[in-house]
Symmetry: C2
Subunit: 324 residues, 2 copies
């Protein structure tokens, strides 16, 4: 049983990371207006959020710039257009996917960029490239995190081996990423225990990025923070791929550090997120996402179900059960 004081304390190593533009961008192909991005930025500043993830730095040779909004690529110049010199306490992050980012060319020296943190997203089998990317970004002056995706399908001994490898890199933080929204809090506790014990050995922080397929993104995030996980990803009203993420308004309401002010989250949801929903942008808990989460599958089939406006949830669940 966790110490009762943990519900009241404000551990000063906790960092709240807004991932709305990046994970939310996956549901509208990153077509956010500049007004939206600026308002989100100001909300994060006022709400005491620690990091704002702007989007991907995707390789323009792999992705057509005409098919995505600006946060698929998050050019330094475009970021400056939104945040100016960012003379605030809010740090800025971008995500670089192993295999999808021409990082040597497209990630410039930190002194020439408004970005503070490079978040390297990788599957376990891409770990050598991810480590190259971390070393490259660190050499250019950035903070770095490594986000090991789809941990619910990985063998824990392989994860442990990857954590040992990462321990020897300059990475600042290693993320538990429940990409499929498949994990229960009891499993998060065990995984956090592994990450935190190896992290402690090498002086690395641990983070969590959760999905809401089983309505557990917030529950898993607060389980993790109670277990010693410090970097906590959230998005306003859960906006993110498929079932979405841990809700920022819930997380800020939970954390007791007075610098976090959830009332600004209420206002942003009211003024900017709910209008997106009214315009027809779709995300959030629904039974197709429960189906893939329960079965520990990638959400791509559930996303296709949603795009096709199918309503035959029971038939879909049956299809997923019978997949070879």
């Amino acid at each position: 049983m966790k110490d009762v004081s943990k519900l009241l304390e404000s551990r000063n190593t906790v960092r709240v990371v807004d991932a709305t533009l990046r994970d939310g961008g996956l549901v509208n192909d990153f077509y956010f207006t500049e007004e939206f991005a600026k308002a989100l930025y100001m909300t994060n500043v006022k709400a005491g959020v620690d990091y704002m993830e702007l989007g991907y730095r995707a390789d323009k040779e792999l992705f057509d710039i005409d098919k995505f909004g600006p946060w698929k690529f998050s050019d330094d110049d475009y970021i400056r257009k939104i945040v100016g010199d960012n003379d605030t306490n809010l740090k800025l992050a971008i995500m670089a996917d192993a295999g999808r980012c021409n990082y040597k060319q497209d990630i410039h020296d930190r002194k020439d960029s408004p970005v503070d943190l490079i978040r390297v997203a990788t599957y376990l089998h891409q770990m050598p490239e991810a480590i190259d990317m971390i070393e490259d970004a660190h050499a250019k002056g950035y903070e770095t995190t490594c986000n090991i995706m789809a941990v619910s399908t990985a063998q824990m001994d392989e994860v442990a081996a990857a954590l040992e490898l990462l321990g020897k890199t300059p990475v600042d933080c290693i993320y538990i990423v429940d990409s499929y929204g498949s994990l229960y809090p009891e499993q998060i506790q065990r995984i956090a225990d592994l990450y935190c014990s190896i992290g402690a050995k090498y002086g690395k922080s641990i983070g969590i990025h959760a999905h809401d397929n089983q309505k557990l993104a917030f529950a898993n995030t607060i389980e993790a923070v109670g277990d010693g996980v410090d970097y906590l990803d959230a998005t306003y009203n859960c906006m993110g791929r498929g079932a979405g993420n841990c809700a920022m308004e819930l997380l800020l309401g939970f954390l007791k550090n007075p610098k976090y002010k959830e009332r600004y989250a209420f206002k942003f949801v009211e003024d900017y997120i709910n209008p997106l929903k009214e315009q027809g942008v779709v995300w959030g808990y629904d039974l197709q996402y429960l189906a893939t989460g329960l079965l520990n599958q990638h959400p791509r089939n559930a996303i296709a179900f949603t795009k096709d406006k199918r309503k035959d949830y029971a038939e879909f669940y049956q299809e997923m059960l019978l997949l070879d």
Copy 2:
């Protein structure tokens, strides 16, 4: 840290209780069609649900029968119209509120009723009446539970005193009820520990009824089952007052006893629950319910906000913060 086997085991003392007609009835004044009720009953039978709560047995001198659908009163004859002789493994329950049920007159002998279980709902201060009701129902041949509401606002020493009183009654099960959706899993663990330890002393089962104001109804329910709580309330797609309850489809997907078949829950949501939503019946997580949950308040102001179709969440949160 809980035993890993708990995620795989199927403890045979667990009971799943469908509360859709009763808690869901609070959002449509109990106006369900007979077709809906019959389909729900058949779904529960096929899905392996253990108890189906039909509705309240409200006092017709206190509530106008013209202002509510039939499940506000759950007459034995009306129940029979839906379930016939109920020649199934599904047991039937009704809720009797302390102070709102003429139980001596309106609850008949079990041999003359299709009902198996009387759920007595009470606030702490009504405990003497609740105990009378339990004894009355037990003497008439029923199983009984006592649902102590709004536990998040109660002093734990008073709750402990109530549990000791209930231990000496014939009640079969005592419920943890998070009426305000205010509790975090860490708190549920501590409360479950208290209930289970006193329950064990007197041979009473413990149950949980959760609300989703902070998207924690399912998380709190699975926390509780891991702590030894056996009676688990759920509703299809969370249908229930305000933010709603623990989702039946999530709970059946989590429980590993093969008698629970979540695919029937998928089908019922598809065929009956989603159409209700399309007709404009409103429930589920939204920021007005987060506001009252965070502040440990009764949801009545949030329900009024919803009914008034207000959208100014930030202003509402401010109003709740400044309530005297």
